[in-house]
């Protein structure tokens, strides 16, 4: 029975064997092949080559493949990489439950499957049917117990953490991975991709791997593999915070907002791609007196994008100031489906990073919302109104400077932006609390404002930047309206009078370009300024929000006035010289 299983797999094995060293162990190695065997061998290789001709262009048009390795305890005897693995159901040689890659007559089997090496790290979660609270991981190695229907990852115990499914795979650089299941011939037997796989109980001799398909058993095939990162679709996230009088409150650069200064709306924007929305799982601390009582944190985070903040007057909607978060701020978007939280965090890190989740990562600072419907942050999403929005440094337990007496949050964390440093006062004790909305869309446009040239800008000079607008996901509106504004960040006398800004076209086509010009006068104080460019098209702001570019104004020498002065003096001297000479002669 097992032999017939291997026979069924010859095409798949030969496909992989093309990439393998010729010295791979095989019972037939060295034996003289009979003519008909040789013919079959040749035919097999030709078919494999043909299959490659078909498969390679398809694979080339997709996302990068992620191959796996098999190994024994301690990553010893590692073999691979391979794009196909089967879980052996064979009792011979204690192979039951082992992960096997093509090679030799029965494949090369080892206890674990997972990552091949540090540069090609790959991580797995294990979970039960409902996912949610059952998720454990991530880990870069998985083994299947002999009974099947379980997948286990190391957790320091003898058996590890075992759940029914393994999946929610992501790479070391934070990209989601999906895998297929397929039979020996691949082709029409391929099912998937899927982010969850389980192995049947008992494990069939030839091997077995199943993915969900809406039925009770799912789609089961012999192999799993052909893993690849998910399609990278650009996506824009947006969060708007409003509040009771005085909230939200803080400072951005020189601008104070909230409190007694004014009532404002905070508008956060983030542009990334769906491939980088990776899963996380955090076991909640047991509930004790004084501790927060929360569910296990399971959800998704996207840390590989760029984020901005814009602050508008709550009444008039006038833009007060804005900034692009600098990379050091580590602003990211996350959703905790276990606790219905969603929002913008800072100091983001992948689930495999030592600072995750409570040794540096801030999930509710600058702002998070609660009561959010489930999402994976990979598709369009709208959460139009949260009853509760909160800014709280240290919410996830990350260390920090103690907050004011009575607050359970740390002191506000300064986050660097191109519009100056942002600090937001914690409002977890505010009643009524601020509220907010959150949305994600794959149909949007972005505004791009490169740094001004020349930079720095001298007094009485101009600098320019070519603004561009680019649509994504089929966004089409024809035209966009642009605006600009300058603000002082760190300038003498508050930067008054400010440099001026202008646009070559206030209305431009989408996609299109316009020229931004910033001008300084002799009166412009030296220092650091920012120019903020806003856009509006079809009633939508840019997916990446208002764009802010920092520039410096300096005094420097040289200039037309010096030359004019010199020319005047030269002229006077030329006129006076003959008279002086005549006087000397007399």
């Amino acid at each position: 029975m097992f032999t017939s299983g291997v026979g069924q797999n010859r095409a798949a094995l030969s496909l992989n064997s093309l990439f393998r060293a010729a010295d791979q162990e095989s019972p037939r190695k060295g034996s003289s092949a009979r003519p008909h065997t040789f013919r079959k061998h040749i035919v097999g290789y030709c078919m494999a080559v043909l299959a490659l001709c078909v498969l390679v262009p398809v694979a080339g048009s997709q996302t990068p493949p992620v191959n796996l390795c098999v190994f024994d305890d301690g990553y010893s005897n590692m073999e691979g990489p391979s794009d196909a693995i089967f879980i052996s159901g064979r009792n011979t040689n204690n192979e039951m439950g082992k992960a096997c890659i093509p090679g030799g007559q029965f494949g090369h089997c080892h206890k674990w499957f997972g990552r091949c090496g540090t540069p090609n790290s790959v991580f797995f979660y294990v979970f039960d049917d409902e996912r949610g609270n059952s998720i454990a991981g991530p880990a870069d190695a998985v083994y299947i117990p002999t009974g099947g229907n379980q997948a286990c990852i190391p957790d320091g115990t003898a058996t590890g953490s075992c759940r029914r499914w393994f999946g929610q795979i992501f790479t070391g650089d934070g990209r989601n991975v999906r895998c297929d299941v397929f039979d020996d011939q691949r082709g029409s037997t391929v099912a998937g991709p899927s982010d969850a796989i389980y192995v049947s109980h008992p494990i069939p001799s030839p091997g077995d791997a199943c993915i969900p398909d809406g039925t009770s058993n799912g789609s089961c095939r012999r192999w799993f593999g052909q893993c690849r990162t998910t399609e990278s679709t650009p996506i824009a996230y947006r969060e708007v915070i409003t509040g009771p009088p005085g909230w939200p409150s803080g400072t951005l650069g020189n601008v104070m907002f909230g409190g007694s200064a004014n009532n404002v709306k905070l508008k956060f924007s983030y542009v990334g791609d769906t491939a980088h929305s990776v899963p996380f799982a955090v076991a909640a601390t047991p509930c004790q007196d004084g501790n927060r009582c929360v569910n296990n944190g399971t959800g998704f985070e996207n840390i590989a994008g760029t984020a901005t903040i814009a602050i508008e007057d709550a009444g008039s909607g006038a833009l007060l100031t804005a900034g692009n978060f600098r990379p050091e701020a580590g602003v990211f978007v996350s959703v905790d489906d276990g606790n219905s939280g969603i929002g913008f965090g800072s100091k983001g890190a992948l689930p495999t990073d030592p600072s995750f989740p409570n040794r540096g990562v801030e999930v509710a600072y600058p702002y998070a919302l609660f009561g959010a419907p489930l999402t994976d942050l990979q598709s369009n999403y709208t959460f139009p109104f949260s009853f509760w929005a909160m800014s709280c440094a240290g919410f996830s337990g990350s260390p920090g400077q103690a907050g004011p007496p009575g607050s359970t949050c740390n002191a506000p964390l300064p986050l660097d932006t191109t519009g100056g440093t942002l600090t937001i006062i914690s409002d977890n004790q505010v009643n009524p609390s601020p509220t907010g909305s959150f949305s994600a869309t794959t149909t949007f446009y972005t505004l791009s404002v490169p740094p001004l040239t020349p930079s720095p800008i001298r007094s009485q000079a101009t600098a320019t930047s070519t603004i561009s607008i680019n649509p994504f996901g089929g966004f089409s509106s024809g035209q966009a309206t642009l605006g600009c504004k300058t603000v002082a960040i760190d300038a003498v006398s508050g930067g008054s009078p400010l440099p001026t800004c202008s646009l070559s076209n206030a209305q431009i086509a989408v996609p299109g370009t316009a020229t931004l010009t910033v001008a300084t006068s002799t009166q412009t104080p030296t220092g650091t300024y920012a120019v903020i460019v806003t856009g509006e098209s079809a009633g939508q702001p840019p997916g990446n929000g208002a764009q802010t570019v920092t520039f410096t104004v300096l005094k420097s020498g040289g200039g037309i006035v010096a030359l004019v002065t010199f020319a005047c003096l030269l002229g006077l001297w030329n006129v006076a010289r003959p008279r002086l000479r005549k006087r000397l002669v007399v």
């Binding site: 002799t522 030296t526 420097s556 020498g557 200039g559 006035v561 010199f566």
Partner: protein, 173 residues
């Protein structure tokens, strides 16, 4: 030597035209280079003299300092290297050796550096006392250019005078 012979074939007007043309070329070439070291040395000199005069000064970058809260960037024009380069064709004496010319140019460079520091520091003092940057830097700069012109003119006039005396001496003989 050949150049010397050839230039003697030109009239005085033609020679002056050639020298001025070369000056323009030299200045154009000068502004194609960054002169980063010289800009830093100049800014350091102003930083130290400003400190000595009791001003609040700190360095911002290799070519930028902050004096009393205002940022000043030292561009190529602030070093007077363009003025020096423009002066080279004007003061180069074809009747003396290259070595002697180089010694004279070195003396001119030192003089111009000193003059430049004086004019830049004057600008700082005037600006600190409320003068506009146009007056403090550029008008003073214009006067400094004129001062250099007078210096160059004096050198040329002295050389022409020496040439005439030498010619008169030969005629008498």
């Amino acid at each position: 030597m050949r150049l010397q012979t050839r230039l003697y074939k030109f009239s005085l007007t033609q020679e002056v035209t050639i020298r001025i043309g070369l000056s323009v070329l030299f200045v154009t070439f000068t502004h194609q280079l960054q002169w980063q070291s010289l800009r830093m040395v100049t800014s350091e000199a102003i930083l130290r003299t400003s400190l000595a005069m009791g001003m609040s000064v700190f360095r911002v970058s290799a070519d930028t300092i902050n004096v009393n809260g205002t940022f000043f960037q030292f561009v190529t024009a602030c070093t007077f290297v363009d003025v020096f380069m423009a002066a080279i064709p004007l003061v180069w004496n074809l009747q003396t050796s290259a070595a002697r010319n180089l010694i004279e140019l070195f003396a001119l460079a030192v003089t111009l550096f000193g003059l430049n520091i004086v004019r830049l520091q004057t600008a700082q003092v005037l600006f600190a006392h409320g003068a506009s940057w146009n007056v403090a830097d550029q008008v003073v700069g214009g006067f400094a250019y004129f001062a250099v012109w007078l210096l160059v003119w004096r050198l040329i006039a002295l050389r022409l005078l020496a040439l005439r005396r030498s010619r008169d001496h030969r005629i008498v003989e």
